[in-house]
Symmetry: C2
Subunit: 389 residues, 2 copies
């Protein structure tokens, strides 16, 4: 096991009605004047935004609003938010929505106190040291950004989709998680979120660091819970307990507990980021395509941990690692399929993907050799993209 720091000072309120605590927590953790960041109005139509602002008003917190966050959120709105936030002299940022709203809020919170281009942090030219405080009201369990120190933003110029990772600077001070808010998610978005949270576990699970049984077992436990609860939310979108299990799984998948003590991988995310940057697909759906392809490559090159996952998560019995890995991948594909997710480029609606372009951008953004579980060159990442055809 490697040395590690684990610091997750986010206060979670979880359950029915917790969004009505937004005012109290915003006053405690964010300040007197805040910016609310959200997407394209579903939080307005559902009445959620009104409940949140009523709570803010009651707590004496004033606010300005910034709507219009897109899926795969871009730097454009971040620049706008930074400018408006400075003009309004805000103390903190409250995201109401899913990962895109939260990641945009984090980028704005980071950019406001910095005298320069916020992209400096995403481009790796500077390490974040301070940001305005951020809170969240989560509506889509998927990205795990409500409990992580990370933010993913796409730079429109060149379509660079980059993940910025911080230990704690960008961790929300509080996150309000009401499973009822997820009842109305369309099935495809629910399913994509499930693939995304599973991917967050896989990226940490696939490691060559030995002696991490506790982290393996916790990861496998969360995967099993997701696999058991997912069919229930697909069948009955208003099954509260199933929605609650999925929602909390999404937070635990990405708050860092599945990564303690080991090197992580993250190649599947990097490979998917190129797909969603170029083709604009839903991140989780892209992952459902890339992950089985990545695992299929690993079954031939480094099957050990794929086989362990197959045995412990899907109850595969084969003694031979490669065989067990292949069986586990079949189970995973079948599971994604049962949720209505694609497992090929064609399923994503991309009939002839420009694989050389994806490979080129991938290694431009991430370096010549990538991955913690099995280091991959451009020749090999191209093979993995082709396995997804």
């Amino acid at each position: 096991m490697n040395n590690f720091t684990f610091y997750t000072p986010t206060k979670y309120l979880f359950g029915r009605g917790v969004e009505t605590k937004a005012g109290e927590l915003a006053r405690q953790f964010l300040g007197q004047k805040i910016m609310i960041v959200y997407g394209h109005g579903s939080v307005v139509r559902s009445g959620l935004l009104s409940r949140v602002t009523a709570s803010l008003a009651e707590a004496g917190v004033s606010w300005t609003e910034l709507g219009g966050v897109d899926p795969n959120p871009t730097d454009t709105l971040v620049y706008k938010g930074i400018e408006e936030g400075r003009k309004e002299n805000i103390d903190g940022v409250l995201a109401v929505g899913g990962g895109s709203a939260i990641d945009t809020a984090k980028a704005i919170a980071l950019g406001i106190p910095y005298n320069g281009d916020f992209w400096d942090f995403y481009a790796g030219r500077l390490v974040p040291e301070k940001a305005l405080p951020v809170g969240t009201v989560l509506t889509i369990p998927a990205a795990g950004s409500e409990g992580s120190g990370n933010s993913v933003i796409t730079r429109l110029d060149g379509l660079h989709k980059i993940s910025l990772r911080t230990e704690s600077v960008l961790r929300p001070k509080f996150s309000l998680l009401n499973p009822e808010l997820t009842f109305t998610l369309p099935p495809y978005q629910t399913a994509s979120g499930i693939a995304d949270m599973m991917a967050h576990i896989f990226e940490r699970y696939f490691t060559m660091t030995p002696g991490v049984e506790i982290t393996d077992r916790v990861s496998e436990g969360i995967l099993r819970a997701i696999i058991e609860e997912a069919p229930k939310v697909m069948k009955d979108p208003e099954d509260y307990d199933a929605r609650a299990n999925i929602m909390w799984s999404g937070t635990l998948a990405h708050n860092g507990v599945c990564g303690t003590g080991r090197r992580e991988d993250w190649v599947s995310h990097f490979m998917e980021h190129e797909i969603s940057a170029v083709y604009g697909v839903t991140h989780g759906a892209g992952l459902a395509v890339i992950i089985p392809a990545w695992m299929t490559f690993m079954a031939d090159h480094n099957p050990g941990k794929v086989a362990q996952m197959a045995r412990r998560v899907f109850d595969v019995n084969s003694h031979d690692d490669r065989t067990a890995a292949v069986e586990g991948i079949s189970c995973l594909k079948a599971f994604f399929g049962s949720l209505g997710l694609p497992v090929t480029f064609a399923g994503l609606g991309i009939e002839s993907p420009d694989i050389p372009l994806l490979v080129k951008k991938l290694h431009e953004n991430k370096g010549d050799i990538i991955g913690g579980y099995y280091p991959l060159t451009a020749t090999e990442t191209e093979q993995i993209y082709r396995l997804a055809l």
Copy 2:
């Protein structure tokens, strides 16, 4: 799933050498002048205390020392610590040791800013609202106090051993966990610690709250990791990875993640607290006696969750719940036995326990009917004590 709050703002540094960060973290989180609380000198003899104080000196933090914490720590030393801490005008408390040192440090930190008897909080007459900040350097993985908001103190007058539970007031600001510091733990103490951390999971696992699959799976995963790593630390006390797995399991077992979304039980702890208050046995060893007895009672009265544990943690196959539960309890007893732990009063060295006294004190301290998984009257807790004969 029930509504819940989850707030664990403890910063963990985990791994080799992390105790040398004590000064930096004390300065950041505790203040300029602190009190170091420890036990009976093993931390002096091992050189750990010198390493910690060297780190404090380097960081410009001054300190006073309070040694002499006993296992099953009492109010006597807490009163002494409060008095000395006030005289020295300390800003925070640093525990160097196991759960007893940490729980004493927490009680002192709570008592210093309160103009009254600190026991008011433990007796339930007042709810803690503030305390001096606490940090820990952990040497015994067991109590989980390095990550919890709880503290257990025994009042000598009447031998009341009481657990005080807070959401966050008593959570350490930081905890330094170096598995190497546990290499020299005697086997019985290592084993007792393992029983204690498993008990912390069981107390949260046994619930009638439905729809908590994610919390079940995480709990089962940690239990499996402990059961797999425990024989390794017993066989080779200097197996770093095994010690690391056990140490981190002990923290996760009690930081609250195994309890999210459900009513908990805690009867086994309450029953054991009476045993260790009266007979001074090691807490974990007492739990190894009480837990199988409690489960045996439940196999006849409410076997469902015991059977689930048996199947998912010990791979028991029986379809009938009672049979599966009984088989699981056998596995658990065999596991405790393999660690050299007792599973009966006689094994604890108590040939003729005064069960009526234990029952009387138990219900005096905790009420007429106790337990979240199956409410127990005095008649029934007496049966459970007798099952441990």
